[in-house]
């Protein structure tokens, strides 16, 4: 993504003192990068090192040998398969539903000027700032009354709606960047409004939709608080709640926990890397326009 900001890398001849300065900054930046990435490094290294090194009073930064034992234990932990299944069912359903509703709302907000439009946007921004417990207590009680505890649908509804505000606002950003003229000329050429959407708008919107869905997916995948409170049946635990089963009264199996955590993070990291380019474009597009 640095590549997308070429404006600040002008080829200039540096005077010697500026060169020395740059070396200093480079070293400082690399140290910062090391510190920021260290917990990630420690996660991966701990998941790969033999157990006797994990249960050692003398932790070493580099493992003496690598092993997949921790991964084997993590995968064999009870309910691993059902936890993957739960996480997939809940997050994918919530994201698909959320995206449909958010796209409709984003089209309305981005394309039409109607009474209550600003108010709707403000509500969407404000609800995201509510503290989680303010929602958790009434939602728990309501789902309890409706029999939605221990059911996927309760969690799906919560995740679906919690992705709505930011997904709507984000997709709207993409909608207003598509020229209305495109849609209008398609309609002049004989498309219905629906046809114009399907043939012209949707293809242009697709990258934006993909980015928004990945954000929503990552959020749903990472959520644990509602999952912990609303699902008590261990065969329906999502992956994040399942991670807690590595901690028992006898202590925590850190090797297996780190291995399981690595497994759970891999899809998130991959998805994050995919949308990062999109985000960087979003971030820098202001510069291009201005």
């Amino acid at each position: 993504m640095s590549a997308s900001t070429p404006t600040n890398a002008p080829a200039q001849v540096l005077r010697p003192d500026r060169k020395r300065n740059r070396l200093g900054y480079n070293i400082l930046a690399l140290v910062t990068a090391g510190l920021m990435a260290f917990p990630v490094y420690w996660l991966i290294v701990s998941s790969l090192r033999p157990n006797h090194e994990i249960r050692s009073y003398d932790q070493t930064l580099w493992p003496s040998s690598l092993t997949f034992d921790n991964f084997a234990r993590a995968v064999k932990q009870d309910n691993f398969a059902t936890a993957i299944q739960s996480s997939l069912i809940v997050s994918v359903t919530a994201v698909v539903g959320g995206m449909i509703i958010a796209t409709l709302a984003a089209l309305a907000i981005g394309r039409f000027r109607f009474f209550g439009r600003k108010a709707l946007m403000m509500v969407m921004i404000l609800v995201q700032m509510l503290p989680p417990t303010a929602m958790l207590i009434p939602i728990y009680l309501q789902l309890n009354a409706l029999g939605g505890i221990d059911e996927y649908w309760g969690l799906i509804v919560v995740y679906l709606v919690s992705t709505l505000p930011f997904a709507t606002i984000m997709i709207r950003g993409f909608v207003i960047n598509i020229p209305v003229e495109l849609e209008e000329s398609a309609m002049v050429d004989g498309c219905t409004r629906m046809g114009a959407f399907r043939r012209v708008i949707f293809p242009l919107l697709a990258p934006g939709l993909a980015a928004a869905s990945i954000f929503a997916l990552v959020n749903a995948w990472n959520e644990y608080l509602f999952a912990y409170i609303l699902i008590n049946d261990n065969s329906k635990y999502t992956l994040n709640v399942w991670l807690m089963t590595f901690t028992t009264e006898r202590g925590t199996d850190y090797g297996a926990l780190m291995a399981a955590s690595t497994l759970i993070s891999i899809p998130v990291v991959i998805f994050f890397m995919i949308i990062q380019g999109k985000m960087a474009t979003g971030l820098t597009s202001g510069a291009v326009k201005g």
Binding site: S2, R22, L104, A108, L141, V161, V218, I264, M273, A287
Partner: protein, 338 residues
């Protein structure tokens, strides 16, 4: 709640709005402004049909619970009423007078505010410094740093909390090993329990919160910094401005709106920090680790006093509403809500 949960407070949900915040310049928005007007006559009802599902969903999962929270905090929802037998008595402001008269509550409020302030100052300070540093480094170093930031950013909160719990483990944690090696004082550091003393415990929690929030701040601030016109900076330094002068009078005015926005969001997220504390304390935070969110949670779910929990949550919402309104006004000013 996602916002909070994603990272800074979970994550909160911060992350996703990045493209929104800086992506669209106000001028671009104005250009788009007049367009929707043209269509007003064509579909008067269509937009309402389009937003109907969103409105219903938000009403069901955000607005209704919020109203319910308000109602419950004026009731006494005991066990009996909860399981469906018996009326729920109205108690007026009793819950609030109880809470506000409880010294525990004020201790929790103080702790939350101090913790939030420290986290926000550290996050914004370190974040801004790293962003400024990114302007000065070679391209490949910037790439390395960006990859490191994104790696940190993409860690799920649950996983990040597990890693920090492991790093600060009293028996086998790396922090203790390193401290023992560095100071040579093995008796002092080996087996040291960081969470016995809440100050030290909150130190580890702050580390986790700040580490998790920095990538968002750096990447957003860096994007803002690249919009500062190079010519202005050069002109200022040719006219004899010191490096600090250039920063103070040229760079800062340009990045200030973004900085304010990110700082405001950080205040909200760090005030609502829940997950980091909850997970580092093994799902059962001791009373001295409770911030407002956890205090409300434990009142509701541990002591099954849902009304007390709701009232505390409502007080939290009221405390934050000022900040939220300020944030909204900033957004309106920059044309984000157009």
């Amino acid at each position: 709640m996602t916002a909070a949960d994603t990272k800074a407070a979970g994550p909160p949900v911060p992350v996703p709005r990045v493209p929104e915040k800086t992506g669209i310049s106000p001028s671009g928005q104005e250009a788009d402004g007049p367009r929707p007007k043209k269509r007003r006559k064509k579909g008067e009802l269509l937009p309402y049909f389009l937003i109907l599902p969103a409105i219903l969903a938000i009403a069901a999962v955000y607005v209704y619970p919020l109203i319910k929270t308000v109602i419950m905090s004026f009731q006494d929802l005991g066990r009996a009423a909860l399981w469906g037998n018996g009326e729920t008595p109205w108690v007026g402001f009793e819950q609030f007078t109880n809470i506000l008269g409880d010294p525990d509550f004020w201790a929790v409020v103080g702790r939350t505010v101090v913790f939030m302030t420290i986290c926000v100052v550290l996050t914004m300070g370190i974040g801004l410094l790293i962003a400024l540093m990114m302007l000065k480094v070679s391209t490949w170093v910037r790439l390395v740093l960006t990859v490191a930031l994104i790696a940190a950013w993409s860690m799920p909160l649950m996983v990040a909390a597990s890693v920090f719990r492991w790093l600060s483990d009293s028996d086998y944690g790396l922090i203790n090993t390193l401290l023992a090696d560095l100071t040579g004082d093995e008796d002092r550091w080996l087996g040291h329990n960081w969470f016995l003393d809440p100050w030290q415990g909150f130190g580890i929690i702050t580390l986790l919160v700040v580490w998790g929030a920095i990538p968002f701040v750096v990447i957003t601030m860096y994007a803002a910094l690249t919009q500062v016109p190079k010519e202005l900076e050069e002109a200022a330094s040719l006219d004899g401005a010191t490096a600090f002068g250039v920063y103070r009078f040229v760079t800062w005015p340009v990045i200030k709106p973004v900085f304010t926005m990110v700082a405001t969001l950080s205040v909200i997220w760090d005030f609502n920090v829940f997950g980091q504390i909850w997970l580092l304390r093994g799902n059962k935070p001791e009373p001295e680790y409770e911030t407002l969110g956890l205090y409300s949670f434990s009142k509701a779910f541990e002591s099954t006093s849902f009304s007390q929990g709701s009232a505390i949550a409502l007080i939290t919402v009221l405390m934050l509403s000022g900040v939220a309104v300020y944030y909204l006004r900033q957004l309106i000013k920059t044309g984000e809500v157009e």
